[in-house]
Symmetry: C2
Subunit: 223 residues, 2 copies
């Protein structure tokens, strides 16, 4: 997954990806951005139809310097697809609430990546298999080898879009609140309430065959 | 928060909000949609600049039949703001991974609300206070009364957008996987890996005054 080849190690901010507000939160380092992308597994895809923006959640997978997204979740988008569709893919990992001493300085800790570009449909059969495998492995590593692989018909019924990781930026906020200097005298508890998205006990499908053990992909699940 | 007044209890799907793919997942009931909105606290806002979609994560608050969003996170959007900006606000709550017996039928359990419309800047001072309070209370109930309220200057420095909850739809997926009938014979464990976003132990700001107790807003925190 770490094949960055000869690409620049740092994304050059464009007028569109330059972080304008709170620029100290801007991140352009490719390795750091890929780490955020690899820690997530669903994104919000934005696209435009008749001047109206749409934002749809869907799964994704990173493979090298490409992001693959499930087009199926965005059938509306694909209507306007001909030679590619302009998208914005945003991946947000929420890390915690930042409680300040003033209402104004409350914030959130998060890692967020924004990818701009033109998404194109993956048509080549081999690349499509690589893409759906990448999406599957991104969501739950090891699952692909435990299940029935897609049939030709299922592959045809799956639309996958590819988006080059070329125009990319990230924003990261960590740490305690930043209060006004005079507010540090207030008797108000301030700090961070960290959050994690955690798996709970697996629920077996009532239709499972008897005595099936929990699969390795779940036993070893971690993010 | 439940003031739906004389509005219809059900949103009428428009050509833009009708759930086209897997229509059985579509939800248009106002009370059910508000329940999803009230369970979340950050959204992804989509808007268009020069034909390019942008998708930015930000906090929100629901108050009656309006959604308030922090404009500050979307300074880029506000450049094109004059009499309102076309947006799509999407709130997604991720509930779990759905593990099927085939790669193709893997899915996610989620609740997702999509709001389309024109967001306008909140300029009236009283409405703006209501709006920032609604956003604050949505994120962490009770916090507003524990902290220093905004000064006039801070209020001016805060941009808030209001979006009517008029053109709205939701998609909800719950329950076990839906496999092909013949796949139920496969010796593959299938089921759901539920997820929750949970708070961890609070981290006090090193600059807190000595002996400050944990605030009620955190002690009583629940979603």
């Amino acid at each position: 997954m770490q094949n960055t080849g000869k690409l620049d190690a740092t994304f050059t901010p464009t007028a569109r990806t330059q972080v304008e507000r709170l620029p100290e939160r801007g991140v352009y380092d490719r390795a750091e951005i890929y780490k955020i992308l690899d820690a997530g597994f669903f994104c919000h895809v934005g696209f435009v139809v008749d001047g109206q923006p749409f934002v749809i959640p869907t799964g994704y997978g990173r493979s090298g310097d490409k992001l693959f997204i499930h087009g199926s979740a965005a059938s509306r988008m694909l209507k306007s697809l001909s030679g590619g569709v302009k998208v914005c893919v945003t991946v947000t990992l929420f890390d915690g609430l930042v409680l300040a001493r003033s209402a104004f300085n409350h914030s959130m800790n998060y890692r967020s990546v924004v990818v701009l570009g033109t998404a194109t449909e993956v048509e080549d059969r081999e690349e499509k298999i690589e893409a759906v495998r990448a999406i599957s492995e991104q969501i739950i590593r090891g699952r692909w080898d435990e299940v029935r692989p897609p049939t030709e018909q299922e592959l045809k019924a799956t639309t996958v879009l590819a988006l080059p990781l070329a125009e990319v930026s990230a924003k990261v906020r960590t740490g305690p609140p930043h209060d006004e200097e005079e507010d540090y005298q207030l008797p108000v508890w301030a700090g961070v309430l960290p959050f994690r998205s955690v798996p709970e006990a697996p629920l077996a499908d009532p239709r499972n065959l008897p005595k099936l053990a929990l699969p390795k992909s779940i036993e070893n699940y971690s993010r």
